[in-house]
Amino acid sequence: MATETTAAPPRRRETLDSAVIRFAGDSGDGMQITGSQFTNTTALFGNDLATFPDFPAEIRAPAGTLPGVSGFQIHFGAKDIFTPGDAVDVLIAMNPAALKMNLADLKKGGILVVNVDNFKETDLKKAQVAVSPLEDRSLEGYRLFPVELTKLTRAALKDLGLDAKNMDRCKNFFALGMCYWLYNRTLDATHRWLDLKFGSKPVLAEANKLAMKAGYAFCDATEAFQVSYEVPPAKLAPGVYRNLSGNTALAMGFVVAAQKAGLRLYQGSYPITPASDILHELSMYKEFGVITFQAEDEIAAITSAIGAAYAGSLAITTTSGPGMALKTEAIGLATMVELPLVVIDIQRGGPSTGLPTKTEQADLFQALFGRNSEAPVPVIAASSPGDCFWVALEASRIALKYMVPVIVLSDGYLANGAEPWRIPELSELPEIPVKFRTEPEGFRPYEREPHTLARPWAVPGTPGLEHRIGGLEKQDVTGNVNYEPLNHERMVQLRAQKVAGIVQDVPDVVPAGDADGDLLIVGWGSTYGAITAALRTQRVTGHRIGHVHLRHLNPLPANLGEVLKRYKRVLVPELNLGQLVWLLRARYLVDAISYPKVQGKPFMQAELEAKIQSLRAH
């Protein structure tokens, strides 16, 4: 950019250790793309970051209305960043609805950029605003920058011969250009992206570049912007990094797992928010031999995967809560026939259709217990977007080693959120050994490997291993259909012991913060960032706090009970009504305190800090 910008240097630069920007506009305004581009540029610059895309379930709610507001928040810094940020430093509001829905999160004195071209009488009416906030002094506490975004964008593009509609679609890039100026970022990465994206339509690439440049130049030229900011690169661990979202990480993780296991990856899936991106991603990896099967429904998605597992593939199925409900019976079948399978649940707000695009952690009970009869299943939860990659590998390894279905819990926040991710060396990837039964002599379909209790994987096509499996109860060892009372009890116990025995592969927990003391915070899944951030500010003299974040929810780590007892109190924050806390209380007879939140939103750091402080006071 330096070569392109000839204007005078910014008037004053302030250095910050972190900042939070939120882009808010109509669903059709391209806020997700704008946010992603700012994220990518910021990642390449070397900041640590976390993002929070927040969009409506409706693809295009009526333009300009409150339900149509789409937002993208990014928190980036020169220090470790654990959450997308509680309060916003810069809010870009493309219309009155976006302003109304997001203003409450803007810090007092924060920068507010509004597109005044969208504050006409009709726009206000659509947002159910009686008096324009630009005129009623309600924005006085903020640094307001009213910008004619639409007009200025059109002026910048007037020579390209585009119609008004196409010109207006570039106004988000005008806003992006402004943010790049504000944080002293270059436009290079976004230029590259535009060239790729609009390869066949260079005029559109050009239009967006021009709009972005105009936004940048506008800030440069306008006296109104007296300050720009610098957020220096973070001190991340050495290595090569990329920006990674949770769903992309899962997709990549399973491709790697299949390669390391020497198996074909088979994904059976039915489109569902917020899990569909895993299907989109995996459908691109055909050069790895990945088969993606978009099934006719959730049940066919999982049962076809069971078929593929039976036939010797690393089989996975991806879904969200309502889809999990439909897969329930099939998970029971996989438990009974003891085949490897990974079931991925990207949790969203529920019950029923609930809040399709919002995040929640309320499928824990469903994952642990949501089947008929005694059907224990290992459950693993990812704690950050990048962690999704490693969880995919871990789930595959367990499924293949123990011949069990494994449930992976992620959620909408991890799925769509992104963070810088250190790309591992190939040598860092775990080996995933797989052994197919080939020897016909002495083959018995339900004879177990003593250490893991896994039964042999005898795939069709192997001479001499013809045998029958199914959902009816099996006779121990032979696998023949058997209804005898004592055999049933033995098989129920064997299946339970097998899953419980996975604990030998579950590392002991080591609390972050203080290893014993006053308060232990126990979390799981996507609350990792918020708890970690809160822990950093709340470890004060005289109040010893630790944090355990559970990756393995079944079986639980062997030393968890002992660790819980090292602290006077145990706090369990969860995005549900208290599911893990219920489990801990039942399992360890510990009087753990629940801190639930079910608003379709992640925890804010401040909420957790306040909760910790209130416990300290009492």
Partner: protein, 339 residues
Amino acid sequence: MTATLPAYTKKDFQTDQEVRWCPGCGDYAILSAVQQVFPELGIPREKFVVVSGIGCSSRFPYYMNTFGFHTIHGRAPAVATGIKIARPDLDVWMATGDGDALSIGGNHTIHMLRRNVGIKVLLFNNKIYGLTKGQYSPTSEIGKKAKSTPYGSLDRPFNPLSLALGAEATFVARSVDVFLAHQKAVLRKAAAHKGSAFVEILQNCNIFNDGAWENLTEKELRDDHTIAIEHGQPLVFGKAKDKGIRINGLELEVVKLGDGITEKNLIVHDERHPNPAYAFLLSRMDATPGFPTPLGVLRAVEGPIYEKQIADQLAVVAAKKGKGDLRKLLQAGDTWEVR
């Protein structure tokens, strides 16, 4: 492969498991027919996979000495699809019933057929729920008095062949449990078909719906109530071979041969007719009073085979992009280095 293939007999496809169907059940005859046909097919035994759902018919895999998977109610087509996609070299057969395939598993059945996955489907149709002890099924005739319908059933039945044809199945046939020779001939044709082969086998449940097909199976009645259709042959039926099927506009007619009407006026069966509407017309005959029930292969056409298309697409992309490279996968997109 063929050189080293053992000379299989029926015995090679029998298991040591006690068969637990009711004495007199039509399923025994179907099991016997399949066990007689499999040895003839020139396929190594370990390549056979028999998949089923739930119901009396779905116990089938336990009695076949092949790989077998007794799955859950209605889902056999999806499990079988996963097997066939993952391992196209396997010979995948499916045993199912009218409730399993057309009620709880109806969705999977039609989607398997529309995709033309290479699975041979044996649908045992006894027009009743047997394993749950006698409720009416989606193929039961209207007014059926059964456990759950003491005053008679109200819903219109599915014709399995019409349904399969509506899903544009590439192979659609019908046989009868007790017609062993006919059944074996149909099974051989199904075995040779590439793509989904849908075979309805009319089967008697002697406990809950005895005699459901007796019009078609009793010696005195069957010749007037069935028509054995053969590719390239005119549609003639009746004890004296004196009746035939003629087409008039969009309607079929039963005509008596003689009085100027000869076989030349009749439909000559073309199982390869590209338009499924032709076979559909034939399938509707058994719902029309005065018409015989067609037995044999109604439709056998070539179509794109799903598992082959998947394999081809993988090969095309791999040829274009080169074999997958994990390092490239991990480092895709913009990256930066922290020192």
